[in-house]
Amino acid sequence: MSDAATIVSLPDQSTARIPKVNFLSKENGLLSWLLTGDHKRIAILYLISITFFFFIGGALAGLIRLELLTPQSDLVATDTYNKLFSMHGLIMVFFFLVPSVPATIGNFCIPMMVGAKDLALPKINLLSWYLYVAAGIMMIYTMSAGGVDTGWTFTTPLSTHYVNTHVITTGLAVFIAGFSSIFTGLNFIVTIHKMRAPGMTWFRLPLFVWSNYAASILMVLGTPVLAITLVLIVLERTVGIGVFDPAKGGDPLLFQHLFWFYSHPAVYIMILPGMGVISEVVSTFSRKRVFGYTAVAFSSVAIAVFGFFVWAHHMFIMGISNYAVLIFSLLTMLVAVPSAIKIFNWTFTLYKGSITFETPMLYAFGFMGLFTIGGMTGVFLGASGTDIHLTETYFIVAHFHFVMVGGMLMAFLSGVHFWWPKMTGRMYPEKISQLAAVVTFIGFNLTFFPQFILGTLGMPRRYASYPPEFQILNVFSTAGASVLGVGYLLPVLYLTWSLKYGAIAGNNPWQATGLEWQVQSPPLTENFPEIPIVDHEAYDYEWLERQKENEVASVG
């Protein structure tokens, strides 16, 4: 990839300066960060905290893979292994994936994208971060006090009556983290409804805003159901309330219903913002409006709405009624369609574009390939017949890692690389970051593809030891995990390096069209010197060209 085939337009480095006044330099000192109402600073706080939890979760994953190198449980005892995967799941789901894109990139970009000076409720935004931190501290306390081994699904009656680990503190930690995500979602919805700049109509919004809007609806309506479920679990453990206890006439399947009513939409909370990132990135680097803007926008909303109707597909083999199986299986098939629509629309955005292959784009390509596999294997599990054989095996592990890691994490990294120049005002080294993207992709496939075969062969999930004939594929998987680990460490290193030594990025290094790219990098605390008046559609590259010409003309 020679320089000719790239659109990065950095200012002349000898004269370029980071703007003196920006949101980072406005005030100094720890307190100015801890008491800030600025959505950009809160986004940075979130970015640091979720990266911290990502690496804790990642370290746990590393231990899991090491343990599975051999068929016996020899590295750790089985109960330690159970804690490892439980904590891995809890941390990755509630402390990384759910807040990942919305709370960092969404927090940073959404107000700028809609042309506002901040989110509608800055204090609530800060509160949301504090709730997250409080929940995180409880989680760390739980870990250091001995951990929890219920699995992230808290299956009753195991979690209520049969384990004696720290279920209560974990439950409360997740409860609090849930409210953190409710407040983020609530803030986004209000901002998108009420804070759009003049001229910014709904169909001029970037698709990133649409998908975050859809995810926010799920957060606001889904998370409280998880909250009450966790409250009931905590009450069952403390005062012996028996709503889920079969010995007292309760029904443990009711727990499954309530838990999955949140936790299935939760996967859309996790993936939808990622899809938004991909829309932005694919459009920018093919210099073309997203193919079928309205279709992509409405497919996000469709996923959010249908997302509420499919939860019981997690319970097909648990003895729910046949009729429910039919309905939920059918609706699951329907919810798969909008995802397919999105994939094809992104692909056709490339058609007749002018494509370059910067790091965010490479991650986006990775997303499109891996998410296609992840989505299709979801259909295997949504069809009630094949679900019987494949559920609760490594097939399902591979499936959701393809969607969550191959999809969401790729999108998150794509987004971080895409908006990094805007957040910090500096570029990272291009070649090494491209290498990191490729390493991640290879490592990912090596880690998780063998797990599809393992699952089809019948290897159950959450096993500390397994029959020896599964070893070879597990060895591949563990080998892949180490490659993947390198792929994730690299960005931390060069992104940190770039904070001081990176090239000055200028306002709009990618020549992107979003409003956030039309202001200085890093932006002012109030984002825009004056509220912009929007007179063009989203992804209008011709408008951008005209803007540049005007600038040249006025400067000349």
């Binding site: 159970n82 195991l158 095996t393």
Partner: protein, 355 residues
């Protein structure tokens, strides 16, 4: 293992000899499941290939070098419709196909032989009708539909036999069932696939598929002396069930002869079929299962009988095909016929008997 090369060599040999993409097909349903599975794999591969081909060719054709100025295209309703309708159609095919398979797997045929499975932390206990007990193992004959009636004593477990492509959750307090017909003799894996606590990964066992002769031999070799129904009979007597469930005209409870499989009318007007799950519930939560015309006087046996005991009772009641047997119950020692091919379709005359 100080040398690395023999390890790798061993691995390669192992891999080459054991490599498989799917488990052995050892039941009648397995090839049907695999047909759908491979159809889905095919569709996925085609879809993935299309996406990858499109991305690659567009990336080459429209890279900035070759195609410096992008052509702005709004979209295309025709294309949108294409990639909405084609996936939708394929998904609907998979839905219908999958649902058919689902109902086949979870609808046991009437002539299936019933084996009870009780899951507990962390072992599987299987009980054959003849009273043979096994732990973490299941012996079954080929060529005969076998229904598993599964329950858990404590937490959720899941009974999974990958080679048969069947799996069913074991739930505390409720019977679930699944059936299969084994086709190929051999030894296969039996897993608990629902996470159930510390030794979840040790809750595994073997499914041994035998020829019908081999199974007969195995049954004879591992008999514990009394069939489930006989154990149930003993329990029935010792819990004084006969005090009410007898055939005397002034009996306080309905006669249980031929009750299994019949349609009952309950005191609240509800119509139910007396299946295994119903019988279990009626023993443990009797007041919700009072046959019409009887007073709700039966005490609950919740906490007094183990799950195995309930199974014995259920099996006993299932095999009660005449009032005569009930009258003999207290003194009976004779073996009941093995539960095969029983016909209990005749509706019982319960309820109407007593006014």
């Amino acid at each position: 293992m100080s040398h690395i090369s023999p390890v790798i060599w061993q691995f390669l040999v192992k891999w080459m000899t054991n490599f498989a993409l799917f488990p052995p097909e050892a039941s009648k349903i397995a090839p049907q499941m695999d047909a759908l599975y491979f159809f889905m794999v095919l569709v996925s591969l085609v879809g993935l290939t299309i996406v990858i081909l499109l991305i690659t060719s567009f990336s080459i054709l429209y890279s900035k070098k070759r195609h410096p100025v992008a052509v702005q295209i709004e979209g295309s309703t025709l294309l949108e419709a294409t990639w909405t309708i084609i996936p939708l159609g394929l998904f609907l095919v998979m839905f219908v196909w999958g649902a058919l398979l689902y109902f086949r797997i979870y609808t046991p045929p009437a002539n299936a032989m019933n084996i009870y499975v009780v899951g507990k932390q962390w072992m599987w206990k299987a009980e054959h009708p003849g009273g043979q007990h096994e732990i973490n193992a299941l012996h079954v004959p080929t060529g005969r539909p076998i229904q598993l009636t599964i329950i858990s004593q404590d937490v959720f477990h899941s009974f999974s036999i990958p080679a048969f492509r069947v799996k069913r959750e074991a739930i505390p307090g409720r019977y679930t069932s699944v059936w299969f017909e084994a086709t190929t003799p051999g030894t296969y894996h039996l897993f608990c696939t629902q996470y159930c606590g510390t030794d979840h990964s040790h809750m595994i066992g073997e499914v041994v598929v035998l020829t019908p002769e081999g199974y007969k031999k195995w049954l004879e070799g591992s008999t514990s002396g009394a069939s489930l129904a006989q154990n149930g009979e003993r329990l029935f007597a010792s819990l004084s069930c006969t005090a009410c469930h007898n055939t005397r005209p002034d009996a306080r409870g309905p006669s249980l002869a031929n009750v299994y499989g019949s349609k009952l009318t309950l005191s609240n007007g509800q119509q139910v079929t007396a299946d295994d799950a119903y019988l279990r519930e009626a023993i443990l939560n009797p007041s919700q299962h009072i046959t019409q015309g009887y007073a709700p006087i039966m005490p609950t046996y919740q906490g007094q009988i183990s799950e195995e005991g309930v199974i014995d009772l259920v099996e006993y009641i299932k095999n009660l095909d005449s009032d005569y047997r009930v009258q003999q119950t207290t003194a009976s020692t004779t073996l009941l016929p093995e539960g095969e091919g029983k016909t209990t379709q005749t509706p019982a005359t319960q309820g109407a008997v007593k006014q």
